[in-house]
């Protein structure tokens, strides 16, 4: 933060929602109560795969306090929906299913009653006749010829395929002096937002629907709900003022929003549905589990030549955002390195488990767990320094990933320096400890438009009131990552006012411009660019009046080469900053000059000609010091350093929080967060048995910020906080490799896996000695 040329950017700015959040004033969907409101509960399938023959809810309807029951067949249009709206065959989920269930927990019917208790009891009175069908739970089984068909017309249950290729991969392999191939089984992970899925729908007979919903893209939900209900988008208002976490799990249509809306529409009363923690586990979505085959060819000096990957992902019952995760895992598996030939073939396979989808990192954590470990093993096999081998093959500023992406800023080289120094300073570690490293990069917003929006990807409006206070309207969604604060900072800096002058309006589709929302690390760059443009527009309009009244900023008048600017509410001559006028005074002059109209600035952003994936990429290298108990196989994280290039930091406190938070989630993915299924049933759908990092398990998380400037980002900023979910699992695996020489090809890396690997190694050594 030293030598900061900005007044607001990268200073110690408090989160603008902080006061509400530390005093209990922040009202989440979970807290919303409306007059005349009913409570809804969802009846869920106990079977992983079954036909619904008959639903009889007459007894439930007679139960005192029950007001209504809905089923897919009777009360919905049965529309198949999905977030990949551009591709009809990928819109495969009805939410309230009509004739078939495909995973345990899938919504079958919903009840509205005077209280949650009554609704819950009434569920037991609904009789459903099922014809149970054979089910399949793993992609390698689902893809077999004889596997049961989960969706009609999808041969071998293949939901989506992805092929990515550049260069002549086969020729590059021919040239390789060393080739290594490995299979990995990469795990799923649950988002576990502290606020479970929650919605309050309020349909009124005049044809308007207002929905309070915990999500990360109010515009997506507005549009998706319009599609399934046969309503106009403009008649639906989605409000998501405070969201208790999302992490990639809350921008699709969920059972809470759909069932509450269908009930509300039928009963003309507000209906609230809150998922229990168990429901949130079994009937939401999860990070995509993957089987990963990786083959890599290099020269003996460590020059990377060719890589080939084949991936089979466990898609679960529906598409969701899983199609994007498949593409992105394929792309980021190449990161952050240059390959002469690269080939990826991905198959997303339907199974009878809860659907898999996007989760923070979006396919990249899986890719890095496999890639970054294999690279470490290759370095060991060839006797090369793993950091130097990575360095010589890495991206650099201006590098073009053939046919895919052009890299703008790239600070990975400096990242290697920082981690090298950190490891050197650590000196000799105790016997039970080792350091693992892992590199990666990540996108700053996606370019793809599978949602088929006609709108700009982001938009913003800046309105200046007579007293100089500013209304900033954005469609971005703050789910805790701090985008409200970041966008207010960009607005204040650009306009030249103070943070307390900005009143930010977001999370309400009636009053905010459409925006694709919070996913793929897009808001700082895309919404940030829109905010900057809107604030510049408003500022330009203001300054027109300053030029017209030049005498107020300069006694001698201004000729064409003089520039005016506003900073810290001071309108001034750039060459002579002491000559100026108070910003509020200029606002009053401008307002009068505009015949009483407020000054309104507009901005928008849609990426054009920025490749296939993203306008900009963050880079990072992480080192993790791990302690492993040889007797128990238990892991303890001791220390960490992340060298991180996110361009120009905007929101300093927010950035640190994002990086620390990403570490905890990524570490959990590495060694704790396990989702075991038996016959399609999740065995640990609660916070006792699903183990996430707690305060006592979190190591120090130092960050070395690498100074770069990203030309595509507002003030040079790019992604932070999602990409850092990617490296940690591999870094932990690499530490175990360096400690014991064993290779961890499955995550989360559980104690029994380490013990088994050690046992196997001992047996091999014994066998070796006998020879």
């Amino acid at each position: 933060m030293d030598n900061n040329k900005y007044s607001v950017i990268n200073t110690h700015v408090h989160n603008i929602d902080g006061f509400a959040k530390v005093t209990g004033r922040a009202t989440y969907t979970f807290d919303v109560t409306l007059p005349n409101m009913l409570y809804g509960k969802i009846l869920r399938s106990p079977h992983p795969h079954a036909k619904i023959l008959k639903i009889d809810y007459s007894k439930a309807l007679e139960f005192p306090g029950v007001v209504g029951v809905v089923t897919g067949k009777e009360d919905t249009l049965g529309v198949k929906q999905g977030i990949w709206r551009r591709y009809q065959d990928l819109c495969d989920e009805q939410v309230l299913t009509v004739d078939k269930v495909r995973y345990i927990g899938e919504p079958v019917a919903a009840v509205a009653a005077l209280t949650e208790d009554i609704a819950e009891q009434a569920l037991d009175l609904i009789e459903v006749d099922y014809e149970v069908l054979p089910a399949v739970y793993e992609p390698m089984e689902g893809i077999k010829k004889e596997a049961p068909e989960i969706h009609e017309g999808f041969e071998r249950n293949i939901n989506v395929t992805r092929h990515i290729e550049w260069g002549d991969t086969d020729a590059a392999f021919e040239e390789a002096e060393y080739v290594r191939e490995d299979w990995f089984k990469v795990g799923g992970q649950h988002h576990v937002s502290m606020e479970t899925r929650a919605a309050v729908s309020d349909y009124t007979p005049d044809g308007k629907l207002t929905i309070y919903h915990s999500n990360q893209s109010p515009y997506y939900l507005q549009a998706l709900m319009a599609g399934v209900l046969g309503m106009r988008e403009g008649d639906i208002r989605v409000i998501s003022r405070y969201v208790g976490g999302a992490f990639g799990g809350k921008f699709e249509l969920d059972g809470a929003i759909f069932c509450s809306a269908v009930l509300s529409k039928k009963l003309n009363r507000p209906v609230k549905i809150i998922y229990t923690r168990e429901e949130d586990f079994i009937a939401s979505k999860r990070r995509t589990p993957m089987f990963y085959y990786v083959r890599t060819g290099v020269k003996k000096d460590g020059t990377f030549l060719a890589r080939e990957a084949k991936v089979f992902t466990n898609g679960g019952a529906y598409t969701g955002m899983g199609a994007t995760a498949l593409y992105l895992t394929g792309f980021f598996h190449s990161f952050p390195y240059r390959w002469r030939g690269y080939r990826f073939d991905g198959y997303r396979v339907y199974t009878n488990t809860l659907p898999s989808t996007s989760m923070r990192g979006f396919g990249a954590p899986q890719a890095m767990f496999t890639s970054e470990q294999q690279i470490e093993w290759i370095a060991a096999d060839l006797g090369l320094d793993p950091i130097e081998m990575r360095r010589k093959n890495s991206h650099y500023p201006g590098y073009e990933v053939p046919g895919q992406a052009t890299i703008g800023s790239c600070g990975i080289d400096q990242c290697y320096d920082e981690i090298q120094k950190w490891i050197k300073d650590k000196g000799t570690l105790p016997d039970n400890r080792a350091i693992g490293i892992s590199a990666c990069g990540f996108m700053t917003g996606g370019i793809f438009n599978w949602f088929d929006t006609p709108y700009a990807f982001s938009a913003a409006m800046v309105t200046i009131n007579q007293d100089g206070t500013v209304e900033l309207h954005v469609g971005a969604q703050d789910m805790g990552q701090g985008s409200n604060t970041t966008l207010a900072i960009i607005c204040a800096e650009t306009l030249g006012v103070k943070m307390e002058d900005i009143k930010l309006h977001a999370s309400d589709t009636d009053h905010c411009p459409p925006d694709l929302g919070a996913w793929g690390s897009r808001q700082t760059l895309m919404t940030g660019n829109a905010v900057k443009m809107a604030a510049e527009d408003a500022k330009k309009q203001l300054l027109e009046f300053a030029y017209a009244h030049a005498h107020i900023v300069s006694k001698t008048g201004l000729n064409i080469v003089y520039d005016l600017d506003i900073k810290d509410r001071w309108v001034h001559n750039v060459a002579r900053p002491e000559r100026g006028v108070d910003y509020s005074e200029l606002v009053r002059i401008a307002l009068r000059g505009k015949e009483g109209q407020k000054i309104v600035g507009r901005g928008f952003y849609t990426p054009h000609r920025k490749g296939m994936i993203s306008p900009a990429y963050s880079y990072m290298l992480q080192g993790v010091e791990v302690e492993i108990d040889e007797e128990t196989g238990k892991i303890r994280l001791i220390d960490s350093l992340t060298a991180h290039d996110c361009g120009q930091p905007i929101n300093h406190l927010g950035l640190i929080g994002q990086l620390e938070g990403a570490f905890s989630m990524a570490a959990g993915y590495g060694y704790l967060e396990y989702m075991p299924f038996e016959d399609g049933m999740l065995m640990n759908p609660n916070l006792v048995d699903y183990h996430m990092i707690r305060a006592t398990e979190m190591p120090p998380t130092a960050v070395a910020e690498i100074d770069t400037y990203e030309p595509e980002g507002p003030y040079g900023a790019k992604e932070a906080g999602e990409g850092l979910t990617n490296p940690t699992a591999a870094a932990i695996g690499n530490a175990i490799f360096h400690r014991f020489g064993v290779q961890m090809k499955e995550n989360p890396i559980r104690p029994e896996m380490i013990l088994n690997a050690l046992k196997e190694k001992k047996e091999q050594e014994k066998a070796g000695k006998k020879k």
Partner: protein, 157 residues
């Protein structure tokens, strides 16, 4: 089930409520009294989002029946602020960015406050143990530990 009379004091305000004796303390706080700052994240006493102070002790309000709080002094997140002035721990949370989505924050702050009331000069490890019963999915805890440490050191008044 026949309703019973519950008298308790919440944030200095006395209440008399007729409740079903099966009602949980968190339900009385949120649904009967209407203080929604206290959250619920699990209902298995695992996450700590519902933490309040009962006679000065941190308790998970989803784990006890409201009737067990008969005659007790309950403090919720809404009770920490006095006449518009935030408690030091609340100021520290803002200044250290010790929250993100904010859903666990009420419970986390109540745990932190109860912990500091008992241990005014804690080590970092003691702070971590003090909030071990509270899950935060966003922050990774380190900013929370810094905020509690700074409060203990008297950096916020």
């Amino acid at each position: 089930m026949e309703k019973q009379l519950l008298t308790l004091t919440v944030n200095g305000q006395p209440y008399e409520l007729y409740i079903n004796p099966k009602t949980l303390l968190v339900e009385v706080i949120r649904d009967h009294i209407g203080l929604t700052g206290t959250k619920r994240g699990c209902s298995t006493v695992s996450c700590g989002s519902c933490t309040v102070m009962l006679n000065g002790m941190a308790v998970k309000s989803c784990s006890i029946l409201a009737m067990q709080a008969e005659g007790a002094q309950v403090t919720t997140i809404e009770g920490l602020e006095k006449n518009g002035e935030l408690a030091p721990i609340q100021k520290a949370f803002i200044d250290h960015g010790a929250f993100q989505c904010g859903f666990c924050t009420s419970g986390m702050i109540m745990s932190a406050q109860a912990f500091l009331d008992e241990n005014s000069n804690p080590t970092e490890w003691e702070i971590r143990e003090g909030i071990e019963g509270n899950i935060c999915r966003c922050t990774g805890y380190n900013s929370i530990v810094r905020a509690i440490d700074a409060t203990a050191k008297g950096e916020y008044k």
